[in-house]
Structure formats: C-alpha cells, structure tokens
C-alpha cells in the first residue's frame, strides 16, 4: 500500500511537470576542430583529464586545445582493430580499453602500445561478440557487453570468460545484444538487452529475465542509468523513459512518457546522465530533456537553426559528465558540451518557433515594475513583459505596434519608466506611451499617448526621448534628441532646459542621451556633443551647462551616472570614471578620479550602464561584454570571454537589478541575466604534463632499447629523468595542459631549476633550450586557467653530461700549437683509455663511441679549417718561398695529424674490435697508398670468420701500425712494382704475409734500423712472432704469426 501511494504521488507530480526557463548555451566540436569523425559513438574522461571521443571513424583524445587521432593503420600491427569505436574505458591501472566493431583493444598510454582481442566464438579466451558496446569495471575484471552476449576479461592476465545464448541450456535466456550494463549493489549485473531487462548473478552464474509490467511496443532497451538517489532509469527503444524503484527482487516500474519531448513520449531514449545539481539529462531522438527532480521542472533542448549556441542535432546518442561537471553530448552531427562555468550568464534569445521567448534580440530598455513584472523594450518589436505565474513558471506577453488602444504607435522602445500610479511610460520615435494595466490577472490594458505640440502649450515636442526618469517629487524628466531636457510636473505642466552658450561651436547642443538625479536632486545628463552636463538648481534654472570638472572625460558621451554617497561613477564611451568626491566635479577643473579602461581589465572602453549590488560591486555593461569593478581594490574583471556569445554589444539604458538580486543587461544579441552573487571564478586548474619532446626539432623516439641517439623508455609524461647527450644542442618540450574551458585563455610558465632564477611566463606552451652547460637541471612547468588559477607543477630532471674535450684551439695563428696539443691530447687520451679499459670494461664501448664522434666533429672541423686556410695561404704566397716552405710544413704535419687522427678514431670505435676489420682497414690503406705510388697491390679475400677474433684497442693499433710501417718501408726503400698481402687462417693461429718484389736488403746490415725495431716491438706487444726475410734484389717477405687461441671470441 505504501508503495502504491508513493507511486501515485510520483505520478501526480510528474504529470504536472513544469517548464523551466533555463537557457543553456552549448559549444561545439567537430571535424573542423580536428576530430577524426563527426559521428560520436563513445565518450570517456581518463584520470589525466583527457577526453576520449570514439567516433564511427576513429578514436580521438582531446586536451581541450587539440585532438590526437588514433586511426586504424594498414601498415602497422600497433593499431586499433577497427575504426568504428563503440566504447572507451580506463581501468584502475590506467590502461585505456577501447571497444570497437571488431573486438577489444587495450592501449597503454605510457608505451603507446595496443594489445588487441578479436577472437570471437566458442573457444578459449574468446569474446562473446565482435562489437563491444559497453565496458564496466569490477575488481580486476572488466565486464564487456557485446552484440552476442556477455564477456569478462581479467585486466592483468587477459583471461576471457564469455556467456552467450545456447539453445540446449536453459541457464541463459535469449541474450543476444547487450546495449548497456549496470553493476548493482547486491553484486549482480543488470543488463539492458534487445530482449529486455536481464539480471545476471555472477556468483551463481544465473541469468534471470526481469519482466517489465508495462505494455511496450518493443521489448528492446536502449540504456540504463542509476542516479544519486539510487533510482534506476531505463531508456526504451520506442516508448520513452521507464523508472525502476524499490528492491531488485521486487521492483516497481513507472512509465514516464512526459520526460521526452515528443508526442506521448513514443521515441527512442539513447542515454541518461546526471549533472552536479542532480538534474537528470535524458537524450532521445527528439532532443535533450533536463529534468530537475527537486523542483519538478523540465527543460527541453533542441537544435535551433538560427541559434549557434543550441545543440548540433536533436538525436543525441551519448551523454557524459566529466570531472569538471561539464555535460558532453555526442550525436551523429558532432560533439556538444554544456559547461556550467560558461553558463553563468544566461542569454535570453528570441526563438521564432516559441512565443514564450523575448520578441527580438536587440533590447533598448529594461524595467522591473512595482509588481515584479519585467518590461523589455526592443529596437524593432515593441515590448515583451516577463513574469512568473503562481506556480513559478515564467510567462511572456508581447505588446506590439498597431492600431487600437492596446497597441503601440511605434515598435522601437527607447526607454521605460513606471510612474507613481503604476502606469508604465514607454518612449518611441512616435511619441510617449502611457500603459495602464491595473489588473494583471487579465490582459485588459490601455495605452494612451502624451499629446505633441509646443512646450508653451504644455505639450511634448516631436523628438525622440532617450530616457525617462521620475524624481523624488512629482516631476518626470525626459532626455530628448534635439529639445534638451523636459520636465513634466504632476499637473501636466512642461518646462524645457536648453544649453545656452555664446560659443557657436557648442550652442544649441540639445541632444541629451541620458539623465540621472543625484541625492541632492541635481539633474546630471549625458550629451552627444558636450559630454557631461548638469542642471545644478532645477527649481530656478532654465538651462544646463557643462560640468566644470569634465577634463578627465572631456566631450566624451556619458551613457550612465551612478551616485552613491559622496561618490560618482560615470560610464562613458572612453571607459568608466570613478570620482570619490562628486562635489569636486562642480568646483575643481581637475577633480580626483580613477579611470577604468581595457588596459586595467575592462571588457571594452565603450561603457553603457552601471549597476551597483548590495555587495558594493559595480557591474558594467559595455560595447563588448560585461565587466565588474571593485573600486576599493581599483580592480576591473572582464567577463567578455565567459559570455557564450562573441562581440556582445550592450545598449545604453538597458539594465536592471531586480528585487531578487538578478541583473538584466540588454544588448544586440539578446538579454543577459545572472545572479551577481553566484558568479564564480573557474575552480579547475589545467592538468599539466610535458609532451612533444624534441631534440633539434626531431621528436625523440620511445624505445626500451638503447639507441645511438637520445631516446626515452616511455612517453615523456611518464618519464622522471632524461639523460641527454652532448650533441643534443637544442631541446624542446610542449607544456601539455588539459583544459576544456577557454583553453585559448591559458597562460603557461616554466622554470629550469639550476638555471633560471624565476618563472618564465608565456602565452606559448613551447619550451626551447639550447646549448645546455653540463649539469643536472629540473625543468618545472605549469599552466593557469582563464581566471589565473595555476595548475600543479610538472617536473622533469634533465641531465647534461660533461663533454670530455675543451675547445682549446681556434685559428691558423695557433696552428702549430694546435698540432702539438692534438698529439699530446691523443697520447693522453690513449693512456687514459687503457686505464679505463682495465677498470671499466662495461662502460668502455659506449664511452669510446661517443668520444670518437665528438672528436670527429670537433677536431675534424678544426683540421679542415686549418688545412683549407693553409691552402689559401699557399696560393697567395707563391712569391714568398720562405713563407711557402713554412706553409708546406704545416700542410705535411696536418696531413699526418689528419691520418693519425683517423686511425685513432678508428681505433676508438668498439664495433671494429676484431681482426677482420683491422686487416680490411689495412687493405684499404694499402690499396690507396699503392695506387698513389703506382705500385700494384693485391690482397686475397679476408674471411669474415675473423670477425669473431677480438682485438683490444691497443692490439688493433699495434697490428695496423705494424703493417703500415711495413708497406711504407717497402715503397720507400725497396721500390717494388708489386706488393701482395695474404692471410692464412689456421686453427689456433693466424699467418699474415706481406710480400714485395723490390730490391730487398741485407738482413745483417739493416737489422738495427729504427723502423724494424719498432715493428718487432709491436709484434711482441701483440704476442706474435715477426719474421722478415729479404734478399738483395730478391724482394722482401714479412710474416707475422699470431696465436689466435689467446685472442678473445666475440
């Protein structure tokens, strides 16, 4: 019985659901913004704040500024299995799971690797169906709703269990397609399927059909949702919304067709979502309904062709609330978003299809009358009256131009004012209307007009009236276009105030824009030609004059005055002026003032109206947006950007603070209303990480292997420390700030600890650094949202190793010095290398490789420079043989240095640590050398097996130099015509034979030659045996025997 009553109450409540008038503005994202497709099929925000957007044509990851597109790549295995995305989910291990039309994919954002699961059917670890429509997490498992049943995957072991309909078992009812899933508190899963509602108890492994006792046209369901109160909402395929309450064992169902915006609610419901005010969002074929359960009100949102802030398409298929309380709406026409922060200023707009909207978008005047009715006067469509009826529902009534006494004589309404009798005065080009509407319960109002004629006859000149103001007494003051200021008293007597001046330039300037009465009952006015004017004593004077202290705003039109105590604020076409002492305006030529302009935060220098709130804040409507002034802090805040309409120009005279503390500002794009007390700053800072790490403008590769160039093991946001190489001259990063609210208004800052003293702020997210000195640095980065709220700091340690060289040479002048130094350096290096080798064989290879490259670059370039300059010097010193001799010496030395250096560099290269490469190097040298000397050189093929025979660096050097020395001796001294080189490889030993057919020498006499001695020493160092056999005129044969057993194996 209780349940019945509850249901009945609910039913009654729902049938009288009220229309609310919240005017939501939506922003749009589509292919133009970089999305890979416009048909949105899945939405998900991950723990980094990224929004994942699945489309029918690829997956996108948005950070607010751009989208990273994941498409199916034909020539890579590291790709999604299909471009049709159906669902996206992030598990607790921060892996992204993507359901596609051809299976499931796991994406690891750290390594950017995809793992795909595409096997389907009656097999081990296979999915129930190919199309993965929904993913839910439970413990270490993900539940997958597919087009042919249910699957479960272990997120770590990737073990898959599946359930699908089999004819021969009764255990599983006819589940084919699972559209949506809801994990219940009792451990069960509630499934929305094409066969209706099914409960699955995983512990008992039992599926149970839940019958919905409502006569539906189709049993298929579209979506499931549980709100914060625990109510389950079911979207059907054809019959709108069903509500499910009570215990799952004994549920109560309620059909609520009124929650969708179509006849009898007969439509498909695609998705539900709940916003931060617990309003239920319902997406159906006919648009979105936002249902406020607390206040029992509902709003319907449809796509309106002439309203760019409306949704892109009615058939919204996906709804998603993100951590910043935005509601994302996906449809086949693109992605829309409702951002509560950007909806603080509500915009009332004219909607042709809806009489319950304002009659035009260009509002000239706004008035709240004593009965709480709001009157809006428009440029071209008369008056709209807005009020709340007894139920609190907002109503609109329009008063139009026409004949008869309930119509206006003109459709342009410049000003509105209420007199003491409760009549509304409305001025038009066609005269001044007086609207009498005593009984608001019916629409029987009458409109009369003030007769026109001359002031002397107490009539009104036929001039436009820009503003009507009642003073504290019984006078009504009119600001006219050409007739100065006119005052009517209670008896209908008219008095005119004009500007009188002897100066013809400024005489007859009776064009008055605005009127204001200060606490002393002085009349202040804004004048088209004169700027600010005043009637100091209205009782005795008949003219107005320029304000004495108008120097700060000289000749600038004053659109509005605001007096408060002793202070005055003037809204002019050149900013807002604050005068702390209003009397100074009358006594001093240059009164004390403070000026607010665009430079110090105002939205626009053209200012229209000033409204002061109870909180002592001034709200200013301007030629472009709305601003707030805090005069005690001398601070202006612009709300231009968060107003969801660009270039919103507000009109003079169109402003009202209501008794309910709501501000209305009228402008060219509608009427803006907001609660000034509730305006808040953006509380969500961006989420910041580093991205796009580049060296010399080339993206740094992600690899877990050690590459020759700098690489990172994971994507840069997941790396704590990067060790650079000395050759990494220019490095750059992009500060990746995830933020979807006004991302173009973000500011960025970075600081390199150990280098920068302070943060470097910029509007550009790219950080570039070049030529870092050796050391360790910490790079810090952060970003601020549009309201200046800074994010947490991202940090990255950068290590630049010390280069081992010093650039101690420079130019030709230092030529000889340089040569000497290089030689010394080489020796020193070699010695150090030897020690290093003994001590740290592991590190040797890396170091050597790096050293040799650096040395190549530095020394090679320097030698080239010296050589070329020497060459040029030689060309210019042909007439100076002495100089030429010196230069030739430099040249010879350089060539030796160059070849020595190349040998040295070669010796450093660890990949050449073997007999094969050593001998080939010799062969190469010998070939060139012999060609140069015009001697035949023959070498037999050297077996690649010798690559396995490892030589250390000094051994290689000894071997190479020994052979070089030998061939050098041969050509220098023996004058052969042919030299041959042969390698005999035998088990355990290696025989090298170098033979020439030169004149030979006597073994006895030449033995002690320096060259030979050197060669012997080198052979000993190699642990080899050198034999030289020579006969006079019988050629020379050099044999080197090496024990290969003692050589290492590579």
């Amino acid at each position: 019985m209780k349940i019945f009553l509850f249901q009945l109450l609910l039913f009654l409540g729902f049938t009288s659901v009220l229309l609310a008038q919240n005017h939501f503005s939506f922003q749009h994202y589509g292919v133009e913004q970089g999305l890979s497709g416009s048909n949105i099929t899945a939405l998900f925000q991950d723990s980094n704040g990224y929004l994942w957007i699945g489309t029918a044509n690829g997956l996108n990851r948005g950070n607010g500024s751009s989208f990273k597109v994941f498409n199916v790549s034909a020539d890579s295995t590291n790709t999604l299995p299909n471009h049709k995305i159906r669902s996206v989910f992030e598990d607790k291990n921060k892996m992204i799971w993507v359901g596609t039309s051809a299976g499931l994919s796991k994406y690891d954002p750290q390594t950017e690797k995809f793992t795909n699961f595409t096997k389907v059917g009656d097999c081990k670890n296979c999915l129930a169906g190919r199309i993965i429509k929904v993913i839910r997490e439970e413990g270490d498992y993900l539940w997958l709703g597919t087009n042919a049943g249910l699957s479960k995957i272990n997120t770590k072991t990737h073990q898959i269990t599946s359930w699908w309909h089999k004819k021969d078992t009764e255990n599983i009812p006819q589940i084919y397609s699972i559209i949506d899933m809801l994990p219940l508190k009792n451990g069960s899963l509630l499934l929305a399927t094409d066969e209706g509602l099914i409960e699955f108890d995983p512990r008992k492994n039992v599926f149970k059909q839940i019958t919905i006792p409502i006569n539906l046209r189709e049993k298929g369901l579209g979506t499931l949702f549980q709100d914060a109160l625990g109510t389950i909402w079911i979207g059907t395929d054809y019959d709108g919304v069903i509500q499910m309450t009570g215990d799952i064992r004994n549920p109560a169902f309620q059909h609520l067709p009124q929650l969708v915006d179509s006849e009898e609610g007969k439509t498909t419901v695609y998705d539900f979502e709940e916003d931060q005010l617990n309003r239920l969002w319902i997406a159906s074929y006919f648009g979105v309904a936002v249902f406020d359960q607390k206040n029992n009100t509902i709003n319907y949102y449809r796509s309106e062709t002439d309203n760019p802030a409306s949704i892109s398409q009615n058939a919204i298929k996906k709804l998603y609330r993100d951590a910043q309380n935005r509601i994302w709406l996906g449809s086949p026409a693109g992605l829309d978003v409702y951002d509560p922060y950007l909806n603080q200023f509500e915009i009332l707009k004219h909607n042709n299809a809806d009489p319950q909207s304002i009659s035009s978008n260009n509002a000239f005047s706004i008035l709240e009358d004593s009965q709480g009715y709001l009157w809006f006067g428009f440029m071209d469509s008369g008056i709209t009256v807005l009020w709340k009826d007894e139920n609190g529902e907002e109503k609109y009534h329009h008063i139009k131009q026409g004949n008869g006494d309930n119509h206006l004589r003109s459709s342009a309404i410049y000003s509105l004012e209420e007199d003491k009798k409760g009549n509304i005065w409305a001025s038009s080009p066609g005269g001044l209307h007086i609207i009498s509407w005593p009984d608001r319960n019916n629409f029987e109002y009458t409109i009369s007009t003030v007769p026109e004629g001359s002031i002397a006859e107490n009539k009104l000149p036929e001039k436009r009236i820009y503003e009507i103001v009642n003073d504290a007494g019984n006078k009504t003051w009119l600001a006219t276009h050409g007739a100065g200021i006119i005052a009517f008293d209670g008896d209908g007597k008219a008095r005119q105030f004009r500007y009188k001046d002897q100066n013809p330039e400024t005489s007859s300037k009776d064009y008055v824009v605005t009127l204001a009465i200060d606490p002393q009952q002085r009349i202040w006015a804004g004048n088209f030609n004169l700027g600010g004017v005043i009637i100091e004593n209205p009782a005795t004077e008949t003219s107005f004059k320029r304000i004495k202290g108008d120097a700060p705003f000289l000749m600038k039109v004053v659109n509005d005055y605001h007096f408060s105590g002793n202070e005055a604020l003037l809204a002019t076409e050149a900013g807002v002026f604050h005068f702390p002492n209003v009397e100074e305006l009358l006594t001093s030529e240059n009164p004390e003032h403070y000026k607010y302009t665009v430079e110090n935060g105002l939205s626009s220098n053209f200012t229209s109206e000033i409204i002061k709130t109870k909180e002592n804040e001034y709200w200013i409507s301007t030629g472009n947006g709305i601003s707030k002034l805090n005069t005690s802090e001398k601070k202006a805040t612009s709300y231009k950007k968060i107003l969801n309409a660009k270039n919103f120009e507000f009109n003079h005279n169109a402003a009202q603070l209501t008794k309910d503390s709501i501000i209305y500002f009228g402008g060219t794009k509608g009427i803006v209303r907001f609660k000034p007390k509730e305006i808040y700053t953006n509380p969500f800072p961006p989420k910041v990480s580093f991205s796009d790490f580049r060296i010399l403008n080339v993206p740094v590769p992600i690899s877990d292997k050690k590459l020759e160039t700098t690489s990172i093991p994971k994507d840069i946001p997941y790396v704590q420390k990067v060790t650079l190489k000395a050759s990494d001259k220019i490095i750059s990063f992009t500060i990746n700030a995830v933020n979807f609210t006004l991302p173009e208004e973000m500011r960025y800052a970075h600081k390199m600890e150990g280098f920068d003293d302070a943060w470097i702020e910029s509007e550009n997210p790219v950080i570039t650094r070049s030529n870092l000195d050796p050391g360790t640095y910490t790079l810090l980065a952060k970003a601020a949202n549009n309201d200046g709220l800074w994010s947490e700091t991202a940090r990255l340690v950068l290590k630049m190793p010390s280069p081992w060289y010093l650039s101690w040479w420079a130019y030709l002048l230092y030529g000889f010095l340089a040569i000497g130094s290089v030689y010394l350096f080489l020796k020193f290096r070699l010695q150090q290398e030897r020690q290093l080798e003994l001590a740290r064989t592991q590190e040797r290879d890396i170091f050597r490789k790096r050293s040799s490259r650096d040395f190549h670059d530095e020394a090679g370039t320097q030698i080239t420079r010296i050589a070329l300059i020497t060459e040029l010097a030689k060309m210019n010193s042909e007439k100076n043989p002495e100089m030429l001799e010196y230069l030739n010496q430099i040249d010879t030395n350089l060539q030796e240095l160059n070849s020595g250096m190349h040998d040295f560099i070669w010796a450093l290269d660890p990949t050449k640590d073997n007999v094969f490469d050593t001998l080939n190097r010799f062969v190469e040298f010998a070939g060139k050398f012999c060609e140069y000397a015009k001697v035949q050189f023959k070498a037999e093929h050297i077996s690649e097996n010798l690559k396995k025979k490892v030589l250390n660096m000094s051994e290689r050097r000894h071997l190479l130099l020994l052979l070089k020395e030998a061939i050098n001796n041969s050509i220098k001294h023996a004058n052969p015509s042919e030299i041959s080189f042969k390698v005999n490889s035998k088990p355990g030993r290696l025989q090298l034979i170098l033979k020439d057919n030169g004149k030979g020498f006597d073994n006895e006499t030449t033995k002690r030659g320096n060259g030979l001695l050197n060669m012997k020493e080198r052979a000993e160092a190699l642990g080899g045996l050198l034999k030289i056999k020579s006969e006079t005129n019988g050629g020379t044969k050099l044999t080197l025997l090496l024990e290969t057993t003692r050589l290492g194996n590579g």
Partner: protein, 210 residues
C-alpha cells in the same frame, strides 16, 4: 694538358670559415667554378633552382635538414646532379646511407686539397669512387634479395673492390679498360638507389604512422 671544361660546383657547408675557404680555393683553381655556396640545406634548396651545377658538395653534418636527408630533395630539383658528400666521418655506414639516397661519392674534409680536386674531377667525368669497406656494405645489402639484381660482372667488380683492389688493377685483371670498371660501379650505384627497399620502408613509415 688538354683544355678541360670548367666544372660548376655548389657547396653546402654549415661552417662558414670552411665554406668560404673552399669557395676561394676552388675559384682560384683553374677548371673549377663555385656557382653557389650555402650554409644550410634549407637555404640551398631555396636558392638552388637556377644554378644548375655539375657537382654538389654536400656536408653530411648539417643543422636542420641533414645532408643525407637533403639528397632526395636536391635530386628532385636536378635529377642528373652529381652529389658528393663532404664528411669528417670516415664511418662507412653513414657514407653508405648517403649513397643509398643517391649520392655518388664522398670526400674526406681534412685531406689534402689535391684529393678534393681529383675527386671532384673524377665524379664529373663519370666516375664514382668506391672504397673497399663501402663495397662490402654494398655486397651485404644485395645479399638478402633472391633476384639477381647485380650482374655477375658487377658482383665480380664489387668482390675485388672489397678486397682493396683498385680500379686500374681490376681493369687489368678482367682485361677491360678502367672506364668500363667505372661504368660498372656507376651501375651498381644506380641499382643501389632504385632497389632501395629501405627507402620505401622509411617513406611508408613516415606517412603511415602518427
């Protein structure tokens, strides 16, 4: 000495001093004329179109677009261009990858200027010097393919080159002229570019991946 045609040369070298010196040295040597000298591949590619040099000396180690990367772009502008890499690196792998991109040879920077002049002249006259270590890499690069891309004679020439035998000697041993050997080597180079799978793979990689 017979009158030789003046060889028009372009140089791309990021070291301003070396560039200037090379330019002066070549310009003051009879038979050589520097028609363009650039500090980077980017500026060279911009100002290259009307120069039509016979030989391009291209530094391997350039800031921005590297010498190796730039080869293809130069070849596109002037397909018959002889590109000779300038390098301080004697690393054959680097030189080899330049050859694969379409360079015809390389010259070591620090060497005596007569090697430079000889090298440029040889290239201009249709030669294409190949060192034994490069020859070995060429053999290795053709090994995996089953089709006989290289003719037997070409393989023979390569084999001999890799053993350190010089052109003149190979010519003697195979009873042909050195010009024939040069032609063989030219052909080998050509096949090296045309059949470059690595290039195709690189291209595919750049386009297909994000």
């Amino acid at each position: 000495m017979n009158a030789q045609k003046t060889i028009r040369i372009c140089i791309v070298e990021d070291d301003a001093l070396i560039l200037k010196s090379l330019q002066q040295m070549l310009n003051s040597t009879e038979g050589f004329k520097v028609s363009g000298a650039f500090l980077s591949a980017e500026t060279a590619l911009e100002g290259f179109s009307e120069l039509l040099p016979d030989v391009l000396l291209l530094d391997i180690d350039l800031p921005g677009i590297s010498g190796i990367e730039a080869i293809g772009a130069f070849k596109k502008l002037q397909p018959d261009l002889n590109i000779v890499m300038l390098t301080v690196h004697e690393e054959s792998e680097l030189v080899f990858s330049a050859l694969r991109q379409g360079a015809v040879g390389y010259l070591l920077k620090g060497n005596h200027s007569k090697f430079l002049l000889n090298g440029i002249r040889e290239v201009f006259e249709g030669g294409a010097p190949m060192s034994p270590s490069i020859a070995r890499l060429v053999i290795a690069s053709f090994k995996p393919s089953k089709e006989n891309i290289l003719s037997e004679r070409e393989l023979e020439v390569l084999q001999k080159l890799s053993n350190g035998t010089n052109n003149r000697q190979i010519a003697d041993e195979l009873f042909v002229s050195t010009n024939t050997i040069k032609a063989h080597i030219k052909n080998i180079y050509k096949k090296l570019h045309v059949n470059s799978r690595a290039e195709a793979v690189t291209k595919g990689f750049k386009k297909g991946l994000f």
